[in-house]
C-alpha cells in the first residue's frame, strides 16, 4: 500500500464521524434496603437487567466482547426472554471487583474455548425471564388483575381484557421491590423473535466512529509509559543490567527489574522508554534451554512417536493385533509447528498502585483472571483492587489463561506508587513472549483386512501439552493432558467422528521449554489435519472415494455426517468439476459443534488458488446466524494464515520470528470466497462458534491439493514447500 498516514489514527476516525451518545459503564452500587440500583440510580431487576424510566434496558455482560459478537448474542438471549424493544438495549459490563463483592452474581468471566454463549445461555435467559416476570407482576399488581392475564412484548405490558397497557420503564421501580422469582420457564427456541435473528452488532457503531477505547489507547493524567524486555529464552533469568548507562537518557524515569526474568524502562513517552530499553546492557542466564533449536525439538518429539509409554485418549478393541494381522497397512507421519497469536494490538495494561488501591485498565479475555493477577502482583486484598476491561485488539486465546502482562504492569507500577504507568509490549516482545500453539508430530497407522475394510487405526501424537505450561493443576492425576485429545475423545463435546473396530489414540507428552498456550481452535488445528488428511490417504490407498470411505465409518455419528453431507452437496462432490479444479473435504466435532469443510482449488506451479471454501456448522442453536457466518469466515483467515505462513521456529532457545515480515498473515487479495452453512439441529447441547470451523480449512485444502497434484504434504506451513496462496 502506498498510503502513508499523516495523522493520528484515532483522531482521524473520531474526526470523520459524529460522536454518538454515551454509554454508562461500570457499576457503583449504593445499596438500599431492598432495591439494587445501577450507577445512574435505575433499579435492577435481578442481576442481569436494569430498566430505566425512559424504557432503556441495560443488559449486563461479563464475557469479553473482542469482536466475536458474544456481547450481542448474549444480549439477544436476555432481551428475548425479557420481551423488550431491541432498539432500547444497551450493555453494562460489571467489573470483576463488583462481581467479587456480589459473590460472582454474573458467573464466569472467562471468554475462551468458544464458551461465551454455550456456557452461559441458560442463566442469562433466566435472568431476562425473571425480569419480565417481575415487570408483569408489578403491572398486574397496579391493575389488580391476575398476572396470567398480562403479556409483555416490545417493552410494553398489555392487559387485553381491559385494554390497558403500560411500559417497562413505568413499572420498573415497583418491579424492583418484588422478589426475584426462582421458578422460571424458558421459551422454546422455536418461538424466538430476537434471538436466532441476524441482528446487527451492538458494538459496531462505537467502533466505526472511533469511540471504542482499546487498552493501548488508554491514558490517565500524569501517566508514564513502560517498555519491557523479558528473557528471550523462556524460563531464563535476568542476570544483570547496567542501568546507569540509560538512566540519563531523554525522558527516562526509572529502570525496573520485573520478577526474575524481565526488565522494564519507565519514561515520559513510550518511545523514550523503548529507546532506552534497546540501549540497556542486559545479560541473561538462559541455562540449558539456550541450546534448544527447532531441530532438537523435532528430534525430541520424534522419539515420542514410537515410545512405549503414552497417555491414552481413546481406545477400542485391540489395535496392535489388528495392525499385526492386517492384509494391508498404511503409515504416515505428520507434524505441526508453533504458532503465535499475533493479535494486532500487542499486550498492554495501565496500572496505578498505592498501598490503598491498585487499579488496572486493559484488554483481557477473562476479567476475573486479570483481577486475580492484580491481587497477586499488588499483594492487596480484593476490596482494594480493580480491573477495568477495555476493548481488545484481538484475543485468540493469548489474553485468556495467562495474564502475564497484567502482572508485569502491576509490578512496575508498584515501584512508582501513585503514578499511573502504561506497559505496552513492542511487536517484537509480543512475537517472542507468546503462549504458543503447541508443537506436535503424529504417526498414524491404518490396518485393512483383505476386503479393504478398515479394521484398525492407531494415532500417536507426540508433543506439547498446553495445560503443562498454563494450568498443570488441571492435568489428570497421572499427568495426562485431556485437552490434547480435542476432536478425538470417545464422547462428549469433542468426540471422535468415526467408528473403527480397533482404535488407539494416544499422546506421548513431550514438553519443550517454549511456553504453550490456547491458540484459537487449540488442539483441533493439528488433530484435524492428522485425522482428516490421513482419512483421505486411507481412502486413496484402497481406491475408495474420500466421502464414501468416511460415510462407511460414520453411520453412528449422524450429526458429523449431516454437516459433511451438507458441504459435499454444496461444493458439488461427485459431480464433474470445472477444468483444473479439485475438491477436498474435512469434518470434526469441536467445542460442542459439528463442523465440516469443503474446498475447491486449482494449482498452477507453486501457486494454490482457493476458489471456494465452504464451512458448515451445527452448534445446536444459532443465536445470531450473521455473526456465525462472520466467525466462520474469520476463523478461515486465521486457519489459512497458519496453513500457508504460520511457523515460529527456535534458535538458541528463543523464538526467531519477531514481526509480520517473518510471521505472515493472509491479506484481502488472498481471502477465498467463504460460504457458510449454519445448520443448528437443536437438542440439549449448545456448541460454540468462535473456534470450531477453523479446523476444517487446512485439511480440506490439503486434501484438494492431493487430488490436484498427487502429492501429500505432511508438514506445515506450506511456505516451507515453496507453495504460495494465489
Amino acid at each position: 500500500m502506498n498510503f502513508v498516514p499523516k495523522i493520528n489514527r484515532r483522531s482521524f476516525v473520531i474526526g470523520t464521524a459524529a460522536v454518538g451518545g454515551g454509554l454508562a459503564l461500570g457499576l457503583d452500587l449504593p445499596l438500599g434496603p431492598k432495591i439494587v440500583r445501577a450507577a445512574d440510580g435505575s433499579p435492577e431487576l435481578g442481576v442481569w437487567v436494569v430498566v430505566k424510566p425512559d424504557d432503556t434496558v441495560a443488559i449486563r455482560c461479563v464475557r469479553t466482547e473482542m469482536g466475536q459478537g458474544t456481547m450481542t448474542g448474549l444480549a439477544q438471549l436476555v432481551a428475548e426472554e425479557l420481551g423488550c424493544d431491541w432498539s432500547k438495549v444497551t450493555i453494562e459490563e460489571p467489573t470483576p471487583g463488583e462481581s467479587v463483592k456480589r459473590k460472582r452474581a454474573w458467573g464466569d468471566f472467562s471468554t475462551g474455548g468458544s464458551r461465551g454463549i454455550r456456557e452461559s445461555h441458560e442463566y442469562v435467559r433466566k435472568g431476562g425471564a425473571a425480569a419480565r416476570m417481575m415487570l408483569l407482576q408489578a403491572a398486574a399488581n397496579e391493575w389488580k388483575v391476575p398476572v396470567s392475564e398480562c403479556s409483555a412484548a416490545n417493552s410494553t405490558i398489555t392487559h387485553k381484557a381491559s385494554n390497558r397497557t403500560t411500559t417497562f420503564g413505568k413499572v420498573a421501580e415497583a418491579a424492583a421491590k418484588l422478589d426475584v422469582p426462582k421458578e422460571i420457564a424458558l421459551k422454546d427456541p422455536k418461538d424466538w423473535k430476537i434471538a436466532g435473528k441476524p441482528l446487527k452488532r451492538l458494538d459496531t457503531p462505537d467502533k466505526v466512529i472511533g469511540k471504542t477505547q482499546y487498552g493501548a489507547d488508554f491514558t490517565l493524567p500524569g501517566m508514564l509509559n513502560a517498555a519491557i524486555k523479558a528473557c528471550p529464552v523462556h524460563g531464563g533469568k535476568l542476570k544483570s543490567i547496567d542501568a546507569a548507562k540509560v538512566e540519563g537518557m531523554k525522558g527516562v524515569k526509572k529502570v525496573v527489574k520485573v520478577d526474575d526474568n524481565a526488565v522494564a524502562v519507565v519514561a515520559d513517552t513510550w518511545w523514550h522508554a523503548k529507546t532506552a530499553l534497546d540501549a540497556l546492557p542486559i545479560q541473561w542466564d538462559t541455562g540449558e534451554n539456550g541450546k534448544v533449536s527447532s531441530a532438537s525439538i523435532a528430534k525430541f518429539l520424534e522419539e515420542g512417536l514410537t515410545a512405549e509409554k503414552a497417555y491414552v485418549g481413546n481406545q477400542v478393541g485391540d489395535v496392535k493385533a489388528a495392525i499385526a494381522g492386517a492384509a494391508k497397512k498404511v503409515e504416515a507421519v505428520y507434524s505441526y509447528p508453533y504458532q503465535n497469536h499475533a493479535p494486532m494490538e500487542p499486550m498492554n495494561a495501565t496500572a496505578r498502585y498505592t498501598p490503598e488501591k491498585c487499579e488496572v485498565w486493559g484488554g483481557t479475555q477473562n476479567g476475573e483472571a486479570a483481577f486475580a493477577s492484580v491481587l497477586a502482583a499488588s499483594g492487596l486484598p480484593a476490596d482494594k483492587c480493580e480491573f477495568h476491561k477495555m476493548m481488545l485488539g484481538g484475543g485468540f486465546g493469548r489474553r485468556g489463561a495467562s495474564q502475564d502482562w497484567v502482572r508485569q504492569a502491576v509490578l512496575i507500577a508498584k515501584e512508582m506508587p501513585g503514578t499511573p504507568v502504561k506497559l505496552l509490549w513492542s511487536r517484537e516482545e509480543d512475537m517472542t513472549q507468546g503462549r504458543y500453539h503447541p508443537i506436535t508430530q503424529c504417526k498414524l497407522v491404518g490396518a485393512f483386512d483383505k476386503d479393504n475394510n478398515l479394521t484398525g487405526l492407531h494415532m500417536r501424537i507426540s508433543g506439547q501439552s498446553i495445560l503443562n505450561t498454563l494450568a498443570p493443576q488441571r492435568l489428570d492425576p497421572d499427568g495426562r493432558d485431556p485437552v490434547a485429545f480435542q476432536g478425538l475423545n470417545p464422547r462428549g463435546e469433542t468426540a471422535f467422528g468415526y467408528t473403527v473396530p480397533n482404535l488407539l489414540i494416544d499422546h506421548a507428552m513431550r514438553n519443550p521449554h517454549v511456553w504453550a498456550g490456547f491458540w484459537r481452535g487449540v488442539n483441533v488445528n493439528h488433530n484435524a489435519i492428522y485425522v482428516e488428511c490421513f482419512m483421505d490417504e486411507l481412502a486413496h490407498s484402497v481406491g475408495v472415494d474420500a466421502l464414501e470411505f468416511r460415510r462407511k465409518l460414520m453411520t453412528q455419528h449422524p450429526k458429523n455426517l449431516a454437516v459433511l453431507n451438507a458441504v459435499a452437496e454444496k461444493i458439488g462432490w461427485g459431480k464433474p468439476t470445472a477444468p483444473g479444479r479439485h475438491l477436498g473435504l474435512s469434518h470434526m466435532m469441536a467445542f460442542g459443534s459439528y463442523v465440516a469443510g469443503a474446498a475447491e482449488i486449482s494449482v498452477e506451479g507453486d501457486k494454490i488458488k482457493i476458489h471456494r471454501l465452504i464451512g458448515a456448522t451445527d452448534p445446536g442453536f444459532a443465536v445470531n446466524p450473521a455473526q456465525i457466518d462472520r466467525q466462520v469466515a474469520g476463523s478461515f483467515v486465521y486457519g489459512i494464515s497458519a496453513l500457508f505462513y504460520g511457523e515460529c521456529t527456535v534458535k538458541d532457545g528463543a523464538i526467531e520470528q519477531t514481526n509480520f515480515d517473518t510471521y505472515n498473515s493472509i491479506r484481502i487479495a488472498e481471502m477465498p470466497k467463504v460460504e457458510s452453512i449454519v445448520m443448528p439441529s437443536g437438542g440439549n447441547a449448545w456448541g460454540g462458534v468462535g473456534e470450531p470451523t477453523i479446523l476444517v480449512a487446512a485439511p480440506a485444502i490439503m486434501n484438494a491439493y492431493f487430488r490436484a497434484t498427487g502429492k501429500r504434504i505432511r508438514s506445515f506451513p506450506l511456505k516451507n514447500h515453496n507453495l504460495q496462496i494465489a
Binding site: 462472520r630 469466515a633 474469520g634 483467515v637 484481502i668
Partner: protein, 46 residues
C-alpha cells in the same frame, strides 16, 4: 485499514475488487476481509 480504505475511495471512488486487492495490504487477524470488501462497495455506492 479504515484509513487505507478512505485513501482508496479518495483516489478511486468506485473501486473494483481488483483495485481493493491491490491497494489494501493491511493485516487483519480477525479475518473481516469479506465484510471489509462489502463495506467498501457499499460506501462507494452510497
Amino acid at each position: 485499514m479504515i484509513m487505507a480504505v478512505a485513501e482508496l475511495l479518495k483516489n478511486k471512488p468506485k473501486p473494483t475488487d481488483a483495485d481493493i486487492d491491490r491497494e489494501l495490504t493491511n493485516i487483519c487477524r480477525c479475518g473481516t476481509f469479506q465484510q471489509v470488501r462489502a463495506a467498501i462497495h457499499a460506501a462507494a455506492n452510497a
